[in-house]
Symmetry: C2
Subunit: 414 residues, 2 copies
C-alpha cells in the first residue's frame, strides 16, 4: 500500500502547533527566548512529549535530553528514518528556527496516521537538545554526542554564563533520560529548516533543496595580558587583553569585507574580558569568531588569515594568544541519493524550488557523519532570523512539508 500521490499534510493543524509553541518562552514581541534546559524549555518539551503520545509514538529520552518519538514500521527491526531539528531558541530568537523542523516531523506522523499508512521502516521524530548554543557553548552538542563527536561526560560538564552545569540542568528539568546518548544505526536523516537567509524569499521560491553547507571555520581564542592602571601606564608597557580582543575582532570583520564580494562572511560574535572595568587594563579576553565561504579553499584561506589575525592582535597589544578551540563544518556533506529524491519530489509536486547551500550550522551536519542526510529549506521573510522579527506564513512551509512527507515515505517504504 503506497501513499496516495495527492496526499498532503494538514497545514492548518501544523500551524496550530507552531502557534502553541510560540506561547512558550516568549521573548520580545513575536519572538521567543526559550533557552535550552530552562523552565520554558521544559514546558515546551512536555508539550512535545504529549503531542508525541497523542500521535501514538513511543517516546524515549537519552542522556543528553534528546527526545525521540518512534512510530512502528512494518519491518520494525530495520534502522529507522529520523526526522528532526530543535525546539530551543536564541535569547532573541524567532518562532520558526528549528521549531518548524521538529513540528514538521510531528505533522508528518499525524498525516500518516490519518492516511492509515504504516511505513516499512520505523520513523522517529527527534528534538535535539541545545542546538543553539545560546546558553551552553558549543552549539549542537547533543547531535554531536549522538554521532560520537563529543563525549557525554564532557557535555554534562559544560557551564553556562549563569553558572549552571549542563548535566545538572538536564536533571533539574527532568530530561536526563536513560537511553544512551550515542546513537544506534539510522537509515537516513531528514531535517526541514527555515533558510535563515534571504535567497528563497528574494527569488520567490517555495523551497530549497540543500546540497551542502558553506565551509565554515570557527575558533575560540584566549588573550592573556596583565592588569595595570589605565592612567600612568605608558602605551609601550601595556598588556591590555581587552585591546588584543578588540583588535582581533576588528581584523576578523575586515576579513569578512575582503571576501564579501564572493559571498564570504566573517564574524566576531563574542568577547568577554576580565576585569573589564574602567580604571584597569584587562588581564584576559576570550573571543569567538568564524569565517564562511562557499568555496572550500577560500574558506581555508580566510581561516588562516583569522588565525594570524589573532597572533597579530595579541602582539600589537603586548599580549599572548592561545587558540582554545577550533571547529570546521560544511562542504558537500549531504547524500546525493537523498538530494535527488527530494529534488524529484519537488518537481513532481510542481513547486518553485532551487538547490541551495546552508550558511548556518545544523544538527544535520553532525548526522551526515552518521547516516545519509538531507535538508529542506523553506523561505523566511527577508532572511531575518535570530531576531524576534523572524517571520513566515503557513504557505511558506507548504512545499517543504509536503515534499518532506512524500520523500520520507518513499525512502521508508523502499
Amino acid at each position: 500500500m503506497g501513499l496516495p500521490l495527492h496526499a498532503r499534510v494538514d497545514l492548518g493543524r501544523f500551524w496550530t502547533t507552531i502557534e502553541r509553541s510560540a506561547q512558550i518562552g516568549q521573548g520580545r514581541p513575536g519572538g521567543l527566548a526559550r533557552l535550552t534546559l530552562t523552565d520554558d524549555d521544559r514546558e515546551m518539551r512536555d508539550q512535545f512529549r504529549d503531542w508525541c503520545h497523542e500521535a501514538g509514538l513511543e517516546v524515549t529520552v537519552d542522556r543528553m535530553g534528546n527526545i525521540f518519538g518512534r512510530r512502528t514500521g512494518r519491518e520494525d527491526d530495520l534502522p529507522p528514518i529520523l526526522i528532526g531539528s530543535h525546539l530551543d531558541t536564541q535569547v532573541n530568537g524567532g518562532r520558526f528556527d528549528g521549531i518548524a523542523g521538529v513540528l514538521a516531523g510531528l505533522e508528518l506522523v499525524r498525516s500518516l496516521n490519518d492516511l492509515g499508512h504504516v511505513t516499512r521502516r520505523p520513523i522517529v521524530i527527534v528534538d535535539w537538545t541545545n542546538e543553539e548554543g545560546a546558553r551552553f557553548s558549543p552549539p549542537m552538542v547533543a547531535s554531536g554526542c549522538f554521532v560520537g563527536r563529543y563525549e557525554e561526560a564532557w557535555c554534562h560538564d559544560l557551564t553556562a554564563d549563569d553558572g549552571a552545569r549542563f548535566g545538572d540542568e538536564l536533571q533539574r528539568i527532568g530530561y536526563l533520560g536513560d537511553a544512551p546518548s550515542k546513537g544506534g544505526p539510522v537509515d537516513a536523516y531528514f531535517e526541514l529548516h527555515i533558510e535563515q537567509g534571504p535567497i528563497l524569499d528574494a527569488e520567490g521560491r517555495q523551497m530549497g533543496v540543500v546540497t551542502g553547507g558553506y565551509p565554515s571555520h570557527g575558533m575560540r581564542v584566549r588573550f592573556e595580558g596583565e592588569t595595570a592602571h589605565t592612567g600612568p601606564t605608558p602605551m609601550d608597557l601595556r598588556h591590555n587583553a581587552l585591546i588584543a580582543g578588540a583588535r582581533f575582532l576588528t581584523a576578523v570583520d575586515d576579513i569578512g569585507w575582503d571576501f564579501a564580494v564572493h559571498d564570504g562572511k566573517a564574524t566576531g560574535s563574542r568577547l568577554t574580558a576580565w576585569p573589564n572595568k574602567a580604571g584597569i587594563l584587562s588581564e584576559t579576553a576570550e573571543c569567538v569568531a568564524d569565517v564562511r565561504h562557499p568555496d572550500l579553499i577560500t574558506a581555508r584561506v580566510m581561516a588562516e588569515k583569522m588565525r594570524r589575525a589573532a597572533q597579530e592582535a595579541a602582539a600589537r597589544a603586548g599580549c599572548t594568544a592561545v587558540v582554545e578551540d577550533e571547529w570546521f563544518w560544511g562542504g558537500d556533506i549531504f547524500d546525493p541519493a537523498l538530494i535527488a529524491l527530494v529534488r524529484d519530489e519537488a518537481v513532481r509536486q510542481g513547486w518553485n524550488w532551487r538547490d541551495i547551500k546552508s550558511q548556518a550550522g545544523h544538527d544535520a551536519y553532525h548526522m551526515a557523519l552518521h547516516c545519509p542526510t538531507v535538508m529542506i529549506f523553506t523561505p523566511c521573510k527577508g532572511g531575518i532570523t535570530h531576531n524576534n522579527r523572524e517571520s513566515c506564513e503557513p504557505e511558506d512551509l507548504e512545499a517543504g512539508l509536503n515534499v518532506l512527507l512524500h520523500a520520507v515515505v518513499q525512502h521508508a517504504d523502499r
Copy 2:
C-alpha cells in the same frame, strides 16, 4: 607650642597598620580584592573605626559611607584640615593604592598624640567610599557627593554588575551613616598616595610634590545594532554592535600610540555586549574609554578624535553610537600655596624629591573643587599598580609621611 623640627612619625607602627590591612580581603598573592561595600570592605572599615577610637578621634559616617575621624583643635570651630584617601581596592588590587593615604592620616594623628601636640585647627582623617569604581561605576562618587558634583540619591541608585544597589549595600554593611553627604567648610585637603607610575622609582626619588593632574577625558558610549544570524547574514546587511565596540576600542588604542611620544595615553577599559554569544550578531555594546595627555590642548584634541572614532566605528559596523556619559578631570587644580608649603618642607627635611603630575584620578581632584588641596606621591616599585605585584618598602613611605606631618601641622597651626 610648635612641633619639634626633628619630630618624625613612627614608621614601624604605620607599617603594622599596612600589614593588618593586607590581611583583609586578600586577593591574588600579595594583593587585595577588597571591593567597595562588600563584607571585606566592612571588616576593614570596622578596623579603621576602631583605630580611630583608640586614637581618641570622634568618628562620624555620612550618608555615602565616608568615614571621618575628627581630632579636636585648639580653636575647634575653625574649619578642619582633611587628610584622606580610600580603603577599597580594584579586583586585582595592591596593598598600598589609597590605603597608604588613609593610614598616613591615622599615623599623623597618633604621632601628634605621642607629641602631645594639639593643632589650632581640628584635623579630620577620612576614608572615601568607592574611590576605585571597580564595583560601582563611576569611581570617586563619594568625594564627588561631598563637593556637590553628584546627587546622593543618584549615587544610592548605582547598580553593580552583580546586581547590587549602592544604597542597599551601604545599609547592609552598616555604613549608611547619618551625617549629610554634602560636606561643610574645609580649610585644606591633603592626600598622600603611591605614584602609580614609574617616575619616582626610576629616578630614585623619595617623594613627589603633585602640582596637578594630566588632563583626562573619558566617555561611555553605547552602540546599537540588531541581532541576526552570524552565518547567512551578508556583510553589508549586518548591524553587529560588538564589532562597533571592537572598532572603537581599536581606534582609541591607535590614538594612544599616535600621541605616545609626548606621553599621551588612550585606553579602552571596558566592553560589554548583548547577547554576546556565538551564533548571533550583537544588538548592543557599551564601551568605556579615556585619553590623557600632559598638555591641556592636546588632551582636548585626543578627546575629539575619540568622539569621532565612536561615530566612525558605529558607521563601519552599520550601528549607531550614543555618548551616554563624558567626564573630564585634571589640569592645574592644586593650590599653589599648599604646593609651596609641601615643597619647602621636603627641602627642609632634605629628601630627594621632585614636582610631578598625577596621571590617575583621585578624590583630591574632587576636593580641589571644594577647598585648597595638595597631594604627595610616594614611590612604588616599577610603577606597577592595580595589580597584586604592587610593592613598596617602609622607607618608600618615610619621606611622604614626615613631610605630610609637618606640612599639615604648620597649616593647621597658622
